[in-house]
Symmetry: C2
Subunit: 427 residues, 2 copies
């Protein structure tokens, strides 16, 4: 038990439900606050991050020290560290979210019905958003800002290794809320590293309207198993690029190489390349050579191995692997149908792309592939809230209901019906 947990006490359930009750109440105030008030809170938080940068740095040093002595690997330590540049980016991110259009209160499709009433849909906040995330402390500021901008209260549960950094950032958010005359409880960072707190958060259906876990597949799976609160979640990205017989060879190479090598650790990176058998003899060796220059190793089907010595043997598990690394599975297919069948069987329904000049095949691919993003002649790496023009991204959803694909502010809202009458009654 550390200092933070002492402050919370041993009744974790009571503590968490207290946060929930306060969040529910504060959420009403945030939902009712005008656009300018919510924006002011974000801008004042950015100011506070600058003003308190030394305190944040000190808190982060504590976490870094503990991380080192707990043997965190260098990648995790790097993600944990808050440099001046990273704090600057955090503050800038807050200002950018403040500058986005306000989704709350927008009314669409207001129309008159034969009965005389007018009916439309108004966009409204969900209420309280629960965020569970891992080591990167900048998520604290980013997630809080997205929740406030969309009119919601937030309960944030960061990784235990970042608890001091997260608390220091939370203090800045509290200051920002105070400046804007919003309740400080509109954003609450869980002040204990006890795991029971997560278990409580993800089952407080009466206080939390939606959960957004941000982290690796392990974190998401653990939360999925226990959660009763609905989630906006992203499990994994097993993304495909299919090079069709009618692909332009230059575009095919450019897209395939970018989709694999532009970044390896991202969920929209290609993990399996499918190539039509008529173009594979020419295209596969060329693509494999280019990928080899990037240090990417290939594992493929027997036909692909016959065509190219660079391709090693793929096992069944390769077709479902999210490598997040310079590795790629390759399969030669007989036609578009076989490509779509492969994608149906193995895609995580995140993002899949076709490269073709054939209009009908492009249309079929767009229509028939059931993934959150389907692309023609473009790199899967474009599947991203910023690239799509959403302005911000709370995550990517591989679910079908509510939000699908990159999720912006809209994903943290819903629509209610508004009905305007003049004493109208139903006959």
């Amino acid at each position: 038990m550390n200092a933070q947990t002492d402050a919370v006490g041993s009744d974790i359930k009571g503590y968490m439900r207290g946060l929930g009750e306060q969040a529910r109440q504060a959420g009403r105030d945030v939902a009712r606050a005008e656009t300018g008030v919510r924006n002011r809170a974000l801008e004042a938080t950015a100011d506070a991050i600058y003003a308190r940068r030394q305190q944040i740095k000190d808190a982060n040093d504590k976490d870094m020290e503990a991380g080192r002595s707990n043997g965190l690997d260098s990648a995790l330590l790097d993600r944990l560290q808050l440099t001046d540049a990273r704090m600057g980016a955090m503050a800038e991110g807050l200002r950018q979210i403040a500058a986005l259009p306000d989704p709350v209160g927008a009314i669409r499709d207001m129309s008159s019905r034969p009965s005389g009433i007018q009916v439309g849909r108004m966009r409204v906040p969900l209420g309280v958003v629960g965020i569970v995330y891992e080591s990167r402390p900048n998520v604290t500021a980013d997630a809080a800002a997205l929740c406030l901008k969309s009119g919601n209260a937030a309960i944030l549960r960061g990784g235990s290794e970042a608890i001091h950094s997260n608390q220091a950032i939370a203090a800045c958010i509290g200051e920002g809320l105070l400046v804007a005359d919003l309740p400080e409880t509109a954003v609450q960072v869980v002040a204990t590293t006890d795991r029971e707190a997560v278990g409580e958060l993800i089952t407080m259906d009466d206080y939390v309207d939606v959960l957004v876990p941000r982290g690796g597949k392990g974190l998401i799976t653990r939360i999925m198993e226990g959660a009763t609160v609905p989630m906006i979640k992203h499990l994994e990205g097993v993304c495909h690029v299919y090079l069709d017989s009618d692909a332009n060879p230059d575009k095919a190479q450019r897209v395939a190489i970018n989709a694999k090598t532009q970044r390896y650790g991202t969920c929209n990176t290609m993990e399996t390349l499918l190539i039509h058998e008529t173009v594979a003899p020419e295209l596969l060796p060329a693509v494999a050579d280019a990928l080899a220059e990037h240090g990417v190793s290939l594992r493929g089907c027997p036909v692909s191995r016959d065509l190219c010595a660079r391709v090693g043997e793929a096992s069944d598990a390769d077709w479902d692997s999210e490598y997040l690394a310079p590795e790629l599975a390759v399969r030669v297919v007989a036609d578009l149908d076989q490509a779509i069948e492969h994608i149906e069987a193995h895609s995580s329904r995140h993002t899949d792309a076709i490269v073709t000049e054939n209009w009908s095949k492009a249309q079929r691919f767009l229509r028939e592939v059931d993934s959150s993003s389907v692309m023609v002649n473009a790199s899967t790496r474009f599947a991203d809230g910023f690239e799509y023009g959403l302005g911000a991204e709370i995550g990517v959803s591989t679910d079908k209901l509510h939000a699908r694909g990159p999720v912006g502010l809209e994903g943290l809202t819903s629509e209610k019906f508004v009905v305007l009458g003049n004493g109208h009654i139903r006959e």
Copy 2:
């Protein structure tokens, strides 16, 4: 075990998973089918219902007979019965759904991004819809039609008391699918009354994308407890009408009386009337008299009882009661804030209305009341998919995510991103 169950055998889990697998496969064919093909299936089903009306009648007689000998009450027997008029309405309903615009494939917000790609959203079917419903056999045709129209496959589980009627209607749907050259397995009616079948259906996450239970609160609660598949559900309608100090008295009376008396058993019927204290002395007795003429009995707060002898005593439970009967709770409130607080505490977030001529108060009510439908100067009875112009209604959702309020065909679809490039890569 009856004849139906015999046909299924004792391996209910295996049987249900078989249905699921077939539905998943058939769902792909339905999703890819052109608009005209899906419409033809619905029209051919309507024709088959007419052609086979005697067989349906015979099957329904069997259910009615069994119902009588099992002691079903007259209301349930009435709901179970299929008259010529009801079969005609069922066929007509199918033709109306066929005539609705096709939601599938619609693309919105296609726009060019600075990177050069074009990004838009395409509306697509969810895949497989599971419907669990109670005695009314016409739901079999109606729900199947909504699923097919929106490009989904369906697995239907009706009440055991209607199993022969449902199977007879299912045969007509099968004929309709055959005429349109769609797989008969696109709509499957569970051929066993074993309860284990429901337990399996609501947990087959890999085969069922969404559940739509249609029935009373008891059915929904039972399903909620066991379901792992996401649901579009409606728990109850504890709807409020608030008569403000600035209400026009004629509109106030008209709306209040219609909201309570136009039908008693519907979820959008007013169950609690709130009246501002300055207008209560005049309005409450007048409204109470009019309601008394309809045979509605009132239970209220102490102030309301002082103002009107017709008002009996309300217990705490009354504020949360969905009477579905000629009963009404009444409370006199000090102001709009207290009205909104009451609604926050007791509303089921279905539909709530204000009657007022005051612009600011109307705006506050619309913005601050967190219900799926919020109304100004209109009867809560308007909360309905047909009245809202959705063309059809699969149900009413009191959830916040995915679909909220009356749910039309759109609720059975989601949107995926489509990205169009010309060999574009991410820099």
